[in-house]
């Protein structure tokens, strides 16, 4: 299971589900100047950038992935705009061709002789921060289920879909456990759909990352999210180990009270799929105005 080769003939789908409720405009604890929504938008843009680069073959982007970014807050729907507006599952080659803008940045890399040099990098932007409205998590998960059902009808074989869900608060439209379980019951001949959840917090609380059991969790909401978080398959565990994250056999793809570094690692591990090397971007990138 979770070993199917991802090819153009047999692509997989990745859905990034992000909470865009009003509370996402609050800053992280101890970080008074940066809103959660801004950091999440940046992390999503970096993740899309990484997925495009992985599929780039010289001058062509191969459609190994079909990608969706769904936001929920005042409304539930695709976060893409411009030529990609309102589209739910988009071949990665089209994602590559239609960023809203491409900024210039610098990246520090080793010069191979013990020093660091800065090299220019291109930093495309597909989504902008948004934080407004309540937290219709159940409606958002229902939307994900609808997208998945359509995808799986056409792609019953191959690497199963991956959903990376990021939220900062409790659902405002009911308990997400039932719809979450329904999503996890869908799958391909290579395994069940992978649903991973990352809860981030504005409060200074101890974070819990990739637990194996729910006894350490503080409340019913955390336990609900734990219940609808898939176990990390071995390839993802290997990616976690490369990042120095403490995840073991039986660990759920679940973070509670996460901080900015949790978000970065969550996306890196969640998109590592078939043992691909996680893409590191947070510590060594300095962004300059476009």
């Amino acid at each position: 299971m979770y070993s199917a080769q991802i090819t153009r003939a047999n692509p997989t789908c990745i859905i990034l589900l992000i909470d865009q409720s009003g509370s996402m405009s609050d800053p992280f604890s101890g970080d008074s100047y940066r809103k959660k929504s801004e950091f999440v938008a940046e992390a999503v843009n970096h993740t899309l950038h990484d997925l495009v680069i992985r599929c780039t073959k010289t001058e062509e982007v191969r459609n190994y992935y079909y990608v969706s970014v769904i936001g929920y807050g005042r409304a539930v729907g695709s976060c893409f705009s411009g030529p990609l507006t309102a589209r739910n599952l988009i071949p990665i080659a089209e994602v590559a061709d239609y960023p809203l803008q491409v900024k210039s940045s610098y990246k520090r890399v080793s010069d191979g002789a013990g020093s660091w040099v800065e090299i220019p990098v291109r930093y495309p932007v597909w989504i902008h921060p948004s934080a407004d409205g309540k937290t219709p998590m159940c409606e958002a998960l229902a939307k994900v289920k609808e997208i998945l059902e359509r995808w799986l009808k056409e792609h019953p074989r191959g690497f199963p879909p991956t959903i990376l869900h990021l939220t900062d608060g409790e659902s405002s439209d009911g308990d997400p456990e039932e719809i979450g379980r329904q999503i996890m019951s869908l799958g391909t001949d290579d395994g069940a759909t992978l649903l991973f959840n990352c809860h981030i917090s504005s409060r200074k609380s101890a974070k819990i990352e990739y637990p194996t059991e729910e006894t350490s969790l503080p409340d019913g909401f955390a336990r609900s999210l734990f219940e609808i978080s898939s176990r990390l398959p071995s390839n993802f565990l290997a990616a976690a180990a490369q990042l120095g994250v403490n995840a073991v056999e039986g660990s759920r793809g679940f973070v509670f009270n996460g901080d900015p570094s949790s978000i970065v690692q969550f996306y890196e591990i969640g998109t590592s799929l078939t043992g691909m090397t996680p893409y590191r971007w947070m510590d060594d990138t300095r962004t300059e105005p476009a």
């Binding site: 090819t7 495009v52 680069i53 780039t56 982007v61 590559a96 191979g112 990098v121 291109r122 090397t277």
Partner: protein, 256 residues
Amino acid sequence: MSSAKQSVIWELQTRQLLLPKLDHDVSECEDVIALNPETRRFAVADGATEAFDARNWAERLARRWVQNDATLTSEEFCKWVATEGRELHDSWNGLNLSWYSEEKARNGSFAAFVGVEFDLETESPLWKAIALGDACLLHCHRGALLKSLPVWRSDSFNSTPVLVPSDPAIHETAMQSVIIDSGSCTTGDVLLLMSDAAAAWCLQCFERNELDPDEFMRIKQDDKLSQFFDAERLAGRIRNDDLAILRIEIKQRRTS
């Protein structure tokens, strides 16, 4: 390809097989086989799928290495790779690249490489090989494996081998992993140069003592040989990857 020594002439007989991944076009194959009877050099290179211009880099490494007659040392190899890498990067200048190709090109290209050269001017033919990455040389004698390099166990293949980089800025670290080895052979010996998926399969055959993998290279018709390897990949016994196999058999002919 022969050389007289007293009344014995040593000959090298070759057979090659190059297959793209299943469901892929041959133009997408990033494995390359090169041979040169003049220099008696043979090579297999495997461009890294995720790298920029990987096929070109693999082709440049394999085809130019077999033309080269520089001494086979780590230092010479390192200098030669740096020159080739610079030329490759120069060839990208002036290309009008999209943001993603530009990003990809910035990291350079990567390929696994294994090359072998023969000295047939001795009583027993000698081979000397150089390898970096997971393309392998296997030296077989009467159906037994005598030596395998740089990987010698099927479970030692992983997704992140140190490869030959085109970017001279990272040569120094990579070149520390270069393997150079040598051996002598006798008549009937077979040297197999293989890209990683084929080498892993071959080593597993030897480890399990199930079959002599070299037997299959004796299938006479090329299309039957391809069908055999396609079936092995469909059955999951060989990973679905490009396959490059160059078989070199050492033969002896006596002259009157």
